[in-house]
């Protein structure tokens, strides 16, 4: 028999934790799901070396002490309708029914192709951070961190804590953009404090503005990177490159459910009203899925969604002004870290764009839409189903990604044949 919940929350980052806590606080039966093994999402990912920050511990504790929250970790969403989710946990299929659904699926990082980006030793910035928090050995290794946005500093701090030697941080935004960003931070004192702490832990690390990696070099693995710093080309020897050009909302599940999306720039996010409700009446969304805004807006929006989902409108309303304030940070991020146009032109003919299927930039030249390119070149047909290459091609101004279909993540065939899911005709 399928289990039933008043509220299901997908994603156990700051947004999902807050949503589950808020909804459960009103007595609702809540299910909290995440693909990862532990709670925390991206920002509060478990670090084998360090205790979680206080705010995270509070959030975990709040959820763990409530007996009316069922936690499903290592649980992947495979398919969804407006009444139920088909999930896979430890190779077992499960159908979970719900009255209300909160999408707190967060974001992933934006990877862009450049010569050498597929060399062993090159990682996504957030991906490297995640690996290292899990205990992957980095001590004594020389690492270049490159890309854009506040994430770079957080990544550098984690890597340093684990003993990496940071050869350079290359932020593509100009010194002027960065100064404007820093100058505006006082409006979000917590973020300003976070930034100061980060800077302090990174003293002595070479930090370059208006700098980006043009190419990664090495034969079997990475040896050095070629960096554009202002007008100069510089070669930096290193063992690893951690590179990320910002974040992109994970909208696949929302799309599958038919929630309306908006696009500013190249990537869509979920559209919500003041109660964090999407265009589908019983589906809410909070945090990075609604646009990149960081931890604080995620927490507040999660709480609003949790309250609103169980009809506690007053509690939701009380948080609105805080939400609006936190969200203004999104606009700041967007304007202060806009990408240098040259970064979109780094790929050369033989640069691989689709890693799953080894499709090169030149093979994609003649196509005007994602579907035609996919049919003819297999671009986006692999295990990641275009999450990486499709997002990159959208950012590079080639064509938007196609819509998703179940399974939204690879799943066992046995899971797709699960008997309970969609067994009652809609």
């Amino acid at each position: 028999m399928a289990e039933h919940y008043d509220v299901l929350v997908v994603g156990a980052g700051p947004a999902g934790l807050a949503a589950a806590d808020a909804a459960a606080g009103h007595g609702a039966r809540v299910g909290l799901l995440d693909a990862q093994a532990t709670l925390g999402g991206q920002v509060w990912r478990r670090d084998v070396r360090a205790e979680a920050p206080r705010m995270a511990r509070h959030a975990f504790h709040a959820v763990e002490r409530r007996t009316n929250i069922a936690r499903f970790t290592q649980t992947q969403i495979v398919a969804a309708t407006d009444k139920e989710l088909l999930v896979e946990q430890a190779a077992q299929a499960r159908t979970l029914r719900y009255d209300k659904l909160v999408l707190a699926c967060g974001a992933r990082e934006l990877l862009l192709p450049f010569p050498g980006w597929t060399l062993p030793g090159v990682f996504g910035a957030g991906g490297a951070q995640a690996l290292i928090k899990q205990g992957w050995p980095i001590a004594g290794k020389r690492v270049v961190i490159a890309g854009s946005g506040p994430l770079l500093l957080a990544v550098a701090a984690t890597l340093r804590k684990h003993g990496a030697s940071i050869a350079a941080i290359c932020e593509q935004a100009s010194a002027k953009q960065l100064a404007a960003f820093a100058g505006a931070l006082w409006r979000w004192p917590q973020k300003a404090a976070q930034a100061l702490v980060l800077r302090a832990t990174l003293t002595g690390v070479p930090y370059h503005a208006a700098a980006f990696v043009r190419a990664a070099h090495g034969d079997a693995r990475l040896r050095s990177v070629e960096v554009q710093i202002g007008e100069n080309l510089v070669r930096i020897e290193c063992d690893h490159l951690a590179v990320g050009y910002g974040l992109v909302p994970n909208v696949e599940l929302a799309q599958l459910l038919g929630c309306a999306l908006t696009r500013n720039g190249s990537h869509p996010h979920v559209e919500v009203d003041d109660d964090q409700r999407t265009s589908i009446a019983n589906v809410y969304a909070a945090g990075e899925v609604c646009g990149i805004g960081g931890r604080d807006s995620a927490r507040i929006e999660g709480a609003i969604a949790g309250h609103a989902a169980v009809g506690a409108t007053q509690a939701a309303q009380a948080l609105r002004s805080a939400q609006r304030h936190a969200r203004r940070f999104s606009a700041l991020l967007e304007t202060r870290f806009t990408l240098d146009a040259r970064i979109r032109e780094l790929a050369t003919d033989d640069t691989i764009v689709c890693r799953c299927e080894d499709v090169t930039w030149s093979a994609l030249r003649d196509f005007g839409d994602a579907r035609a390119a996919k049919l003819q070149t297999r671009c986006g047909m692999g295990a990641c189903q275009g999450r990486i290459c499709g997002t990159a091609l959208a950012e590079l101004g080639r064509f938007p990604r196609g819509g998703p279909r179940p399974p939204i993540f690879p799943a066992r065939l046995a899971t797709l044949a699960e008997a309970d899911f969609a067994s009652t005709p809609n």
Binding site: A372, Q376, A383, R405, T415, E418, F421
Partner: protein, 365 residues
């Protein structure tokens, strides 16, 4: 300037084959296609080049066409892979029917052999225990259809063919077609719009029959042959509103492609209920299949005529309008011979096989 010897409407595998052949015959051709070339049923299909022997007309067309496919066996775009077809018999009754099938196929020049249970498991160790045996058609192959369609269209365009990509035929005009946006092209028209046929030629009955497919991650040599249950033809030719059959293919990439389902439905939505039935059927034949990782599910629409045969020829009651559509679940296999039948009629030539069973005029009779 907008006058042609033939205007091909639709660039699925069928339209592409017709345009390619017409251009090779020296005709001035126009192709109109709104979506990507080969983006309709052609993109959804399994690409199995298979001879079906249940209906003599289908046997003749599929066999003739299959021989023409040999010309593409070395073409990289075709991704031609001669995996062979292994028809699986569940029980003695099905196994006993194989002899007659082999004889029918032999008459058409197709080599098929019976395999007993022992040989069956040597060919495909993953098959479930307790099967009675099977029939192997070793020379059969699979291709990747959308790239072939693109290849044929490209080849046509090197020979006096104008491609109107991103444009749709809005209506027939009496002496040609009107595109959306109002552009007129004049000349004889060949409608090869697959499931969209009724929009332009409502007098020719045709329904969409949806199929689901599931593809897995890479598991090289999990299966080696295109595997079908002998009961497949009942699903393909029966008129049940929904049916599923065991139909599994090894892609040259090492992926496993799993079919097949049939429902009369013209939406492209995935039905998990049908997927479940289809997979359960497949698990019954390949028990360990359930552990493989699925990457994607998709659907496609088969253009289906009431008698299951395509319409190939002049459209009754219209001047200079021709049709090549309605190939149901066999249009990749039969596209090449279909093009020959239609272009032969257009040029007033005799064909290698009898065109009568496929003439659209049968609808009136």
């Amino acid at each position: 300037m907008n006058t042609f010897d033939l205007i091909v409407v639709g660039a699925g595998i069928v339209g592409a084959a017709c345009a390619d052949l017409a251009a090779a015959e020296g005709l001035r051709v126009a192709i109109v296609e709104p979506g990507p070339v080969g983006g309709g049923a052609t993109a959804a299909s399994m690409g199995h080049l298979v001879v079906m022997d249940d209906d003599p007309a289908e046997l003749a067309l599929s066999r003739h066409s299959q021989q023409m496919w040999e010309a593409y066996a070395q073409l990289p775009e075709a991704e031609f892979s001669r995996c062979g077809t292994l028809w699986v018999a569940r029980d003695e009754r099905e196994y006993a029917g194989i002899a007659a099938k082999i004889a029918r196929l032999a008459q058409a020049g197709v080599v098929a052999e019976a395999v007993d249970a022992k040989a069956l498991y040597e060919l495909e160790p993953e098959l479930a225990r307790g099967l009675a045996g099977g029939m192997l058609v070793a020379a059969e192959a699979v291709v990747y259809p959308p790239r072939v369609a693109e290849f044929l269209v490209k080849r046509a365009t090197t020979r006096n063919t104008q491609l109107h990509l991103g444009r749709r035929v809005h209506a027939l005009s009496g002496d040609g077609v009107v595109l959306d946006g109002g552009t007129r092209l004049s000349g004889p028209v060949l409608v090869a719009t697959g499931c969209a046929l009724p929009e332009l030629l409502p007098m020719l009955p045709l329904r969409a029959r949806k199929g689901h497919l599931v593809i897995t991650d890479r598991y090289p040599a999990f299966v080696r042959h295109q595997l079908l249950e002998l009961g497949y033809a009942d699903s393909a030719h029966g008129n049940a509103p929904t049916s599923v059959a065991f139909n599994v293919q090894p892609r040259p990439t090492g992926q496993v492609l799993i079919g097949s389902s049939r429902e009369f439905d013209s939406s492209s939505e995935v039905s998990m209920t049908i997927v479940r039935r289809m997979l359960e059927r497949a698990f019954a034949f390949l028990p360990r299949l359930c552990d493989l990782q699925a990457l994607r599910i998709w659907t496609g629409l088969r253009p289906t005529t009431p008698d299951g045969r395509p319409y190939l020829g002049a459209v009754p009651g219209l001047r200079d309008v021709w049709v090549a559509a309605g190939h149901e679940g066999l249009g990749i296999t039969t596209a090449l011979a279909s093009a020959h039948l239609v272009i032969d009629q257009l040029l007033g030539r005799r064909s290698a096989i009898d065109p009568a069973p496929y003439l659209p005029s049968r609808v009136r009779a």
